[in-house]
Symmetry: C2
């Protein structure tokens, strides 16, 4: 590919979308990628830079002189992307790049944006937007929009403000076009605008935009002045990342893992939960060890250890996942904690009854030891109910304590339930074999 014929590469990349170029870059070496970058025009180079994965971007930028970063990338970007990229740079490099920027307005915007918390509305918004004054006419607006639109990729909505920059409402381009040029904006805009404050959390923003199907949402400061807007693409990314995180949590993986990762990265992400599993296993061994004499007398008791542990684990994961998902999807707590626990108990009672009977029938048919048959069925019944309630209660408790409830899914709940399940099983087994 790299036969160094600059003009050919250039001509070939011209019609490609930045996202596609980023994908191609991904397969090039550092050297090659850098070479290709310098061939790209400013606007395109910066668009491509946004599309490549964060880690590659960091490594790439580290190699470049600050004035090049400023002139070739940051100046062409939307303020939100620029701020994101700058936030990843080292303090010194960041300052140097800001100094090198010719567009001081853009530099100022970036500094402002960097002030906000990274996962607040202020931290993800872009300052580029189209706003008009409520006192203008449609004609003035169209002229003003032409001027402002140069900096904005897509307009989506036009925000209407008063003389103090306070957000008054929203206007669609459609409405603007459908009205005669003499109409005053204050007569046609929609005052029911949904906005968020700069301090709002990303989750809230995503929830609002999803609920009201918004392409973009305006961000205002504490006294209602329009500060920026957040567009749907930021929110799609966030929704996807959140879902992936919960998924990984329940699978016992910490941190972001991709199949392209190196061996040690995969190892590091998988290690913590496996360690918990190991500790749980050791505790299980201790529980069993403390019942050594029963196990020695009645070897059959050991046969159903995996069954009890597996059922306890599975039921626990199911219960905790349902709770975590309902919390994540922002379901309003129409049902009180107690009502939810009560329902979980009902579900657990039904599940426990069904499975206790199933295993009873199996054991009754397959062999004659009635003590074992009763021990297993009764233990399974109790274990399922306990695991359900425990799996529901723990994430709810964590949520109350403002700890991420997803922590309580997957390996943690499985391990806990395994141990407690064994304890219950052996206790009941002991009772049966000693009593009768």
């Amino acid at each position: 590919i790299e036969a160094e014929s600059n003009s050919e590469i250039k001509a070939w990349m011209e019609p490609l979308h930045p996202a596609d170029i980023a994908e191609i870059m991904d397969e090039l070496t550092m050297e090659e990628a850098r070479y290709v970058y310098l061939l790209l025009g400013g606007e395109k180079a910066s668009d491509v830079l946004i599309e490549i994965p964060e880690q590659d971007r960091k490594r790439f930028l580290k190699e470049l002189p600050p004035e090049l970063i400023a002139s070739k990338f940051i100046e062409y970007m939307d303020s939100d992307d620029a701020a994101d990229i700058m936030a990843d740079l080292d303090e010194d490099l960041k300052k140097e790049v800001l100094m090198e920027m010719e567009d001081t307005e853009q530099a100022g915007d970036i500094v402002d944006l960097l002030e906000y918390e990274e996962d607040s509305a202020g931290g993800i918004m872009a300052v580029e937007l189209v706003s008009v004054n409520e006192n203008w006419t449609v004609a003035t607006c169209l002229k003003e929009i032409s001027r402002q639109a140069e900096e904005v990729d897509e307009i989506y909505y036009i925000y209407v403000t008063d003389n103090n920059d306070k957000l008054k409402g929203v206007l669609s381009l459609k409405k603007l076009i459908l009205n005669s040029t003499g109409t005053q904006i204050s007569n046609i805009y929609n005052p029911d605008v949904i906005s968020v404050s700069t301090g709002a959390r990303q989750e809230e923003v995503a929830e609002l935009m999803d609920k009201y199907d918004l392409v973009a949402i305006p961000v205002v400061d504490d006294i209602g002045r329009l500060k920026g807007r957040i567009t749907f693409d930021d929110v799609i990314d966030f929704v996807r990342e959140e879902a992936e995180r919960d998924y990984q949590m329940v699978s016992g993986i910490t941190g972001d893992v991709e199949p392209g990762d190196k061996v040690w990265q995969l190892l590091r992400a998988r290690f913590p939960w496996l360690l918990i599993g190991l500790l749980g296993g050791i505790m299980g061994a201790l529980v069993l060890g403390s019942h050594e004499s029963e196990l020695a007398q009645v070897t059959e008791l050991a046969f159903f250890i995996p069954l009890i542990a597996a059922m306890a684990g599975n039921v626990g994961v199911q219960s905790s996942s349902i709770v975590v998902q309902s919390i994540a999807s922002g379901v309003k707590e129409i049902e009180s904690t107690w009502k939810r626990l009560l329902k979980e108990v009902l579900v657990a009672l039904a599940t426990a009854t069904i499975f206790a009977i199933l295993i009873f029938v199996y054991n009754y048919i397959s062999q004659g030891n009635m003590n074992l048959t009763f021990s297993v069925s009764i233990s399974l019944f109790i274990v399922i109910i306990f695991a359900s309630v425990f799996g529901t209660f723990i994430p709810m408790l964590l949520h109350r304590l403002k700890i991420d409830p997803a922590l309580a899914t997957g390996p943690f709940i499985t391990t806990m339930n395994d141990i407690i399940g064994l304890f219950i099983y052996l206790g009941i087994g002991k009772m049966f074999f000693e009593l009768i």
Copy 2:
């Protein structure tokens, strides 16, 4: 709330967003909700209907006469929403509603849309869009858009077609406004338009829109004629649902579960995987039963059954989740199957070595039986490697066979690995205690 003062309720609901009204409705009884619906104006009533959960909507519509469904809801809806709702109705009711519709064009569109597969681009697109002819001028366009825009909620993009209705390109409203009224469209539109065919799968559509950050994507038929468009809100819902489905799969829950569901719904969703867990447990009991004499002689062997089972299960779930997630996120298969398996083996080797040493140290310190200490460590080593490879291989195989790989996460992989892990453990234990 229901003091029956119609005008008050009406006045109170007027400024509310449909999504908010839908939430309030959710807490009313059927009777009350119906009453409130009939108070709402047509446009708003249909917007609210789209927002309420599918199940409630079905129940609600069943109670209404067909002519009311047609005149009060379907006529006001966008074609995609109307088709979705119609698809849920019984055949007879569907026909009756279509017959009752006064807007025959809308009825025709709905019939056309119902022809497409539900999860294809054709099945999710709306026919409402704004399209202009490439030979028109900006002035003609603006006039034409004013006419077309009445049927379209949000314009987003203007699609440019030739005389045969074939999609030629795309034009933003911004560009239209920025150009003088005499300019011909063919000189200003962007011919690099990304479109999908009516037969494209929902996943593809979501991937394209996400990759290129599109608010809307045009849908064309096999010869390139513009048929409809899909907007971002449909895709956000899809992305969210997909993620939820995978999450539930790994948690051992089938079907869509919400905490508000009834007890029997929750039970039904949880039953299948628990049954697999039970069968796995019974198979585990059989495996242990076949090693009864060893267990009777060396009771301590039983102590580490939960540890082996838990580690096998956890490692397997981690491996399978990583594969499933990479498939779901549409990562291109840069790495070949063999390369990925090789890497998994490396990760597994490292993990297995670490944990085998850890458990060896524990057992060495805590007690003297060297046979048991060696058995547990060596088994754990083998089990971890086996579970990793198995957990990676099975979902990849399913994917090849065009079966949803997510089926192989959670309880299935855990159960399989549990049983095989026990088998390995007892086999090795037997060897050690007999040999030495």
